[in-house]
Amino acid sequence: MKFFKTLGTKPWLHDGDVGAVAVDYSGPHIDAASRIALRFILVVVSVIFFLFIITFLARSQYPDFEALSGAPWQPFTDPSRLWINTALLALASAAMQLGVSGARQGKLNMTVTGISSAVCFTVLFIVAQLDLWMHLQSMGFYINSNPANSYFYMLTAIHGLHIMGGLIVLTNVVFRVWYDNSPESLGAPLQLCTTYWHFLLGVWLVLFALLTSRPETINALAAMCGF
């Protein structure tokens, strides 16, 4: 609502709230700016996945769509493998959080432990996802044999790419701090990376829920969206 109030001001008047000197100036502080930028990144990525999901729901209403769960021969009727992968990503997220608290409290050991185990768990998650692809292939669930399969491969691939992008940024942050020998400046950027990790965990949970849904659930969701 503040935005609407701002839009209502009359900038040509020199009296009242809009004084001669700034009211909302906070300076181009890099951490604050990075937080805003991250928020926009999260919005953009959310839009991407949102649109994928919308197309998924639309596509699911065509007769050739066979959900990956719900029947005994479907791979995710028993989603235990996915739970393992989820656990890996959750551990990575938690480790990132540990790293942040370490950096905040100035405990270098804790930070290093947090970041390195986060990287390990994240890489393990990607490997586990790749292994899952192999497993599906060996069971005959190829990418082009059904749109549900196509979506599974595509969405996990896009999600994985975002994780790898995160790893690149994280590496960059860590090396810059190491290079400058300024561990105290790690807190803020690491916090941003952690937020990104949590966000991707959230995205993964949504994808997980969607991709392992039974046909009835998918149809109900699609009906809610008007397809």
């Binding site: 701002t6 839009l7 209502g8 001001t9 809009v18 700034a22 890099i30 050739d64 749109p147």
Partner: protein
Amino acid sequence: MQNVAIADQTVELHDPQTFITKYVWSQDHKVIAIQYSLTAIFVGLVALVLSGLMRLQLGFPDTFDFITPSSYLQFVTMHGMIMVVYLLTALLLGGFGNYMIPLMIGARDMVFPFMNMLSFWVYLLSVIVLMASFFVPGGPTGAGWTLYPPQAILEGTPGSDWGIILMLVSLAIFIVAFTMGGLNYVTTVIQARTHGMTMMRMPLTIWGIFTATILGLLAFPALLVSAIMMLFDKILGTSFFMPALVSLGENLDYSGGSPVLFQHLFWFFGHPEVYIVALPAFGMVSDVLATHARKNIFGYRMMVWAIVGIGGLSFVVWAHHMYVSGMHPAFGFFFATTTLIIAVPTAIKVYNWVLTLYRGNIQLTVPMLFAIGFIFTFTHGGLTGLFLGNVTIDLPLSDTYFVVAHFHMVMGVSPVMVLFAAVYHWYPLFTGRMFNEKLGKAHFWLTFLGAYAVYLPMHYIGLLGVPRRYFAMGTTDFIPESAFTLNASITVSALIVGLSQLIFLYNLFWSLRYGKPAGHNPWGATSLEWQTPDVPPHHGNWGKELPVVYRWAYDYGVPGVEQDFIPQNHPVTDAEHTAGEPEGSKA
């Protein structure tokens, strides 16, 4: 010049030392802006030549041996895609956005200069990938700029092997570049405004660019998603958009996909894209008009609301491009209504531009000529949009030359008129020199009158029912012979307009060397970019101290003050206070 010392820096500015860091790997927003602009102008010229070739074929069919039905479609596609995405989006946001945002809001640079630099180089990569498609076997894609599946990836379309893949990959790369740039623009506007620069004191240029960037950040993902899914269909054989079909006699392995789903995604991007181009143009033209009419922009608040409102509405009108696409016809009611609602804020903008001229003190400089030319062409193009947006009238007119004429008027000629106005207006700032006025005026008259001679008659060819994207019309029962003569005359006008752009390019480079030195603020403008200590502004823009802003960007002709303009960084004086507020503003 009122400046106060502010400890504003948490990021140090490293002044570049070598030629490479200064002009190639530069992190200075002004250099990046010029890099963006030159690249965009280069691809734009390629697209201009393509349009010339298309016009030759349309005006004089059965004459040119080197234009074949396949290459014609390739020209159409590349012309459209380059002009909309790689020229207009890149030039307006990457070029003008980059240059203007920090200067107009009183910042030293973008908040993430490195990412800004990266944005340009990734954009350049996308352009190179796009241009590469001219040299691969089969040539660039000829699927039309909308790239509708199934035909975009099937054999009966030119460039369906490599061309379409390169196009989609190039678009994906472009979107990455745009996102990096866009994050910078919005963050800078939100976070790096100087003392006193409240949101409502920003010039409309910044409002236009800011809103357009947000639209871009939200809309380009839809293009990315559709590009990825189409790449999967093409390369991996999935069936997202591909139904069971028989292509050129062969039963293909696709089944069940929905071509209309692609169209929804494409236009969910495609319609906001229109405003991604239009809103910065709206903003810039407002500033040019106010400066050269020596009058405050009329109804500033309404103008801001209109920009924000148009931006918001642009996400709920996309299917007006799809009235005859075979989607559920009931959608027509909703989308026709939203589309015509958007006409209201747009009309208000036109009224306010004209009312800015009314009771002004109008200097008919070259930028002003182009700005007024814009009002004329935009009014015309906007009004024909009311035909096409109204679902019933779209039935006879969609996919005819009426559509081509409409969107070229509103999205081609109009933004380009603003771009010329903006280049002439800010040329003294970019280079420190004035352009040659005689050449500028010649350029205006040829472009303005020529463009109208191209597009006004084209509407009538569309009324006749001549379809777009036809290599040749051949013989029909309903098209009179005179329509072919009209087409030839359109081609002649188009070639004249195309060639007259050489005057502009010549002027651009001639004045760089021989133009009169411009000095500070040659137009007597109020906004902040003209108040820099150096012209053109140096790295860091503001010398030692950032400017402080005391007023909005439109204090022209303020009562009680001798000078007819007061720059934004001049404190409020007693004289103007006692002069009292004008009537109406208290309401």
